[in-house]
Structures are given as C-alpha cells and as structure tokens.
Symmetry: none
Subunit: 199 residues, 4 copies
DNA sequence: TATGAATGAGAATTCATTCAT
DNA sequence: CATGAATGAATTCTCATTCAT
C-alpha cells in the first residue's frame, strides 16, 4: 500500500501546485510557495517530483488527457448536432472543473521550452481538428454553406467557448449550472447580428 | 533632433522587447535576451527604461491605448450595424497589427501585480461594456431576442474575434486582407448551427 | 537546539561582517567579501540576514545597546566622581571590546540614510546628555567653574575618550589593562597645560 | 591663459566634489552626482581628472597640505605655550574652514586602498608627532609630570580638538568665533575633574 | 573643449536543487 | 520518508569610463 500512499501524496501536491501556479503563473511560483501551502519542507517535494518543471508537466498532461478523454470524435454515420452538443458540454465542463489549470494552459503556453509548446500546440490542433472535421461533414451534408472556412469557424467556436467559459467560471465560481450557459450560447444569432448593412 | 533620436531608439527597443516578451513571456524573458536581440549592451537598455517592468508597462499601455483609440462608443441615434461593423474591423486591425502584444495581453494578463492587473481588467471591462451597450440597444429595438444575456454574448464576440484574429495572423503574417476574414466571420450561422437536435 | 545553532551561526557571521565592514567600510564591503571570509556561499548569508543593510543595522544596534547598557545615568544624590569613574571605565571597555564596531560607528555614522543616521545621532545625543547632566551637577556644587560650557566639555570628554581608547586598542590589541590607561588619562593636567601664556 | 582657465575650472570642480563627497561619502557619491551639481556633462569631468579616485585624492592632498602648512613644528628655544596656542588655533581653523573635507578625512580613511590609507596614517602620525614632541619638551622642563604618557596625551588632545571642532562647526556653521571656543577649551579642568575618589 | 550615448564589469539578491542528518 | 541548511548559477540593475560627434 506504500505506493497508494505515495500516490495520494502526489495527488495532493499536484492539487496544491495547480492552485499556486494558476494564481501566480509558472515563473512567479517558487518551490517554497508550493511547499508552504502544502505544509511540507522543500526537500520533501523532490521525493515526489524530479523538479519544478516536472510538476508543471504532470499538471498539463493531466489536463490535456482530461480534455481529450472528455470529448469524442465525430462519427459521420450518426446525427452530428447531438454529438456536437455533447462535446461542447464536455469541453465546458472540463474547463470549469479545472479552472486553475485552464488559466495555466491558456496563459503559460509559452516560453518554457519547445517540448512543452509542442504539447500544447498539438493539443490545440487536435481540438481544432475535431471541430473542423465535424464542420466539414456539415458542409458535405449542406447543413452549413460551402463558402464557410471550416478552420476559421473552428477557431471561432473554440475562442468563443474558451472566453465564455472562463468568464462564466470567474463570475460564478465552480458551482455553475451549465444549462443556462449553454442555452444562452445557442441563442446567439451571431450571424444574423453580423449581417451588416448592405448585406 | 536629440529628442527624436532618443524616441526612435525607444521605439526600436519596444519593438524588440515586444517580440521577445511575446515569444517567451514576461518572466522567462531576461534583460539579456532583449539586449542580445537588439544588439545593445545591457546597460544601454537602462538609458531608455527604468527597469524590466517599465518596458512591459509601456508596451501594455501602448497596446491598450491603441485599441481604445481605434474603437468608438456606440451612438444610439445612428444605425448600429455599421458602427458595429466598423468597430469589429478596427478591433481586428489592432490585434493583427500588434500580434506580439496581443499574445502578451492575452497571456500575461494576470499575476504580475495588482496595479498591472487592474489596467488590463479595466481595459477588458471597457471593451465588454462597449459591446454590451450596443447589444442592449439592439435588444431594445428588438433586433436581437430579449432572452439573450448581453454580457455573455459580449464575451462570446470578444473571444471569437480574439481567437480568430490571432490564429489568422499566425497563419497569414501581418499582411492580412481583412475583408475575406470579415466575410467569413459574418457568414457563421453559429446560432443555426448550434440549435441542436430537438430544439 | 535548532535555534541555538542558528543563533550561533548568526553571531559568527556578525563577527566576520563587523571585521570586514570595519576594515573596508560599508560600501566598499561586498557580500562576496564577507562570504569569502566566513567560508560560506553567497546565498547562505541570506538565510541569516535579509540583506547587506540588515547585517550592518544589526551590528550597529548591538553596539549601541552594548554601550547604553554599560553606562549608567548619574544620580545627584550620590557622589559624582565614582559614578563618572565607573562610566568612563565602562565606556572604554565597550570601545575596546568592540574595536571593529567602533571603527564603523565612528566612520560610517552618516550618509547611509536618515533612518540609520537617526539611530547614531540619538545615541550620540544620549551620551552627551549623560555627561552634560553630570557636569551641570558639578557646576551646581561648584566643583567646576560656572563659566564652563558643559556641552562643549561633554564633547571634549567623549572625543578624548574615543580617540584614546581607539588608539590604545590599536596598539595593544584586545587584552588591555585598563588601569594604566585610566591612570594616564586622569593625570592629564589638560587645563593647566592649556592655560596659556598670559592667563 | 588657457592654463588659468583650466585651473580655475578644476578648482570649481574640486569645491563641488568636496561638498558632495562630504555629504554622501566617497562610494555613495556618483560621478553623475558631481556633474549634476557642477552643471557639466559626465564626459567633461574626465577632461579635468583621470577618474573618480583622482578627484578624491586631490581633495585629500589639498586638505593635508593645508593642515600641515597651517601648523608649525615646536621650537624648544622658544616658549612652548604660545606655540601650542597658535597651533591649536590653526588646527581648529583648518578644520572649520574645511568642514566638508574634515568629514571625509575623518570618515573615509578606509577601504579605498593601502596607498590612500598610508597617506592618512602618515598625516595623522605627523600630527601626533608634533604634539608629542612638544609634550616631551614640557616634560623635560618639568612643566608636566614625568609619569604622563606623552603619546596618549597627544591622542587625547587631537581627539578632543577634533570632536569639539567638528561639533562646534556642525552647530554654528562656518561663521565661528574662535575665541570663545578656545577659552572654553582652556578652562576645562579635566584633570581636576578626573582626579577621582581617593586621589 | 564639451557632450552624452554606449559600454560592460561588478554588485546584490533569488531560488531551484542537493544532501547530511 | 522528511527535513531544512547550504549551495551557486542566474538575474536585475548601477555606474565609472570611453569615444564619436
């Protein structure tokens, strides 16, 4: 059971680290900060992680894996909209459940090193791909106009969801009723709104 | 002429600093990094800026001021859609013109200290307010449904524009033809798309 | 025991710092200088003191407190001369025991900043006050002429004692027999000597 | 006449430098400080002095030379007390006239380098020698008791004069009437005062 | 002569990481 | 396992000095 104990200790430290990283950012967070919050000595942390970077990596990997396992690839042989609906909900749920990490992923995607950058770029590309794939299917079935740039729309959707989820989470804390949020998003007649003069 | 020379030097250093900050983030960027890129000695930087923080602040202030002077408040006694159109264009233009800074503003928004946070929070609130105000007017004139949460829609629009502009800029460099981008955005029948099964 | 160990380490560092400061002065002493003498790494010093200034302050406070607790206020209801005798001895003892610090107090009294200046100025004023008070009592009992400027005489005595003690300590090291020194001082028929021609 | 102009410029810069050095100390005084006070560019200073140290050296040499030319060696074939009287007055006059430099000489006698230290030590030794010499003559002529330690008494006198002059100058500024000061000093019946209990 | 922009050595301080206890 | 003292590389910032104009 030693392993279990060790494992749960690690989990606890990850939790604390995530909070501190989210609050102060990667660089401004010192090992001491984490240890103080976790009530352990500085040396102890190194029994559970190789180094500062290792903690951060573990957190990010966890987040990416959470997200990727929450959303599911679109299947062309099933109705698309329910799939899309489900994925949006899953996406937002992960964002909100991991508010701290979302902050980090969104803001510290930079400057650590290329290996880390690549992880996030790859993650982002995967997300975009999922959505783009769905949009292409919709184009094929003529549910959306052929003239639309699927990739750009994919970015739009991600940007929209990211911002809204993030702001919603900021305002409402963790106890969010997802449904009103989703209903509101669905109501946005953005295109209509943006069909400006002369169109 | 002296002032001009000094000023242009400062501009050059800001340009370089912006690039480096954008690439590596505030904390991971060392003064040496900037100086190397700018081909100057470390001491020279301090002839033009008080300290590292001062460089960053100047950049952010510049960006915020650029943005705020680019967009204009909505006037209820004039047709809203052209105004909105114009602002979206301006917003995107600034984002694309200042790709580097956008990265910074988007990612280092928090965690330096409260004085700095406040600047960005205030900036963001101003943006949201502009859009929200316009949306409320649209609600009143029943151009959009009353059930919509104007603030949330404002966030959506900003999130969408931010992400799309940023990604577009990444792919297409600085020389962006805005019109195809705008046309694409306008075409997004997001609401239709998101009126999922059963609705 | 932990506290004791930490404390004794601090004491050791103060001792070394005092010597180095005394030899080179505050500004010319670098943290590296102190660490080299103390055989520790530069970082280690910061485990015991906040910064260079903190080390210096601690030294000065120690010195002032040593001195102030060594000398005692004059009581008018007791014979003055033994009191004076005792205080002179105590004063000289502290000077000689803290030769290094005396150097610092004497030479870096001014110019660090006002907070620091104030400490020393206040200390000095206290010393002068003690002596001046005693002299005023002596005036009242007509043991010294009424025409004497008590403050100036106080300065004289302090200057004399300071210089003599300091030089004596320089020549004789720490192991000083105070009595011959005091006897010598007492013999100085300064006034007689200085009652120049014509008086 | 070029030389004259150059020379007077140097003089002016020395004056300014002396003030600044005296106020802030050698190390805390920056070349910029001096230049600002002198209303010249930083580069200009180096037309008149080799470096910062050179300015300081020049000042100290000036002071020492002033002092040494003010006081005169004692001559055994003339009455000693008038000579002593004259020298004390000269000594105090120089101290008061060069209050700024006195501060420096008294407090920055340290840490620059051994060459500088040696200068001051030699100067001090010279002073002590003068006085000691006079005292030895007085001993021989039995004007002071043979048991007195002439060197120690010399230190006493210097310490006393230094302190009193310095304090007096601090309180009264430059416009000092020397005579009341001297009268007071002469009145000090220090020895009588210090003939403690039992003597 | 005079200027002041540029330099770069050097100083203080921080902090991730190690290791003896 | 846990501790926390010690380390020293790296970072920011200062300032005497140089040199092209």
């Amino acid at each position: 059971m030693r392993t279990t104990k060790r494992h749960s200790r690690q989990e606890q430290l990850l939790l604390v680290s995530g909070k501190v990283f989210a609050k102060k950012g990667y660089h401004a967070t010192s090992i001491s900060d984490i240890c103080k919050k976790a009530n352990i000595a500085r040396g102890t942390l190194y029994l559970y992680f190789d180094n500062k970077r290792d903690i951060f990596d573990t957190l990010i990997k966890q987040y990416i894996s959470d997200m990727l396992s929450a959303i599911t690839k679109f299947h062309s042989d099933q109705p698309l909209k329910p799939q899309f609906n489900k994925n949006v909900r899953a996406f937002i749920e992960v964002i909100i459940k991991n508010k701290d990490l979302t902050r980090i992923v969104a803001s510290e995607a930079v400057g650590l090193d290329s290996e880390f950058d690549n992880q996030l770029i790859h993650f982002y590309a995967t997300l975009v791909n999922y959505i783009e794939g769905a949009l292409l299917l919709l184009k094929k079935s003529e549910e959306i106009p052929k003239t639309i740039n699927a990739q750009l729309l994919a970015y739009s959707i991600i940007g929209l969801l990211k911002e809204v989820s993030y702001q919603w989470a900021l305002d409402h804390g963790n106890l969010v009723e997802l449904d009103p949020l989703l209903q509101n998003i669905r109501q946005f007649k953005l295109d209509g709104f943006m069909q400006f003069s002369g169109e």
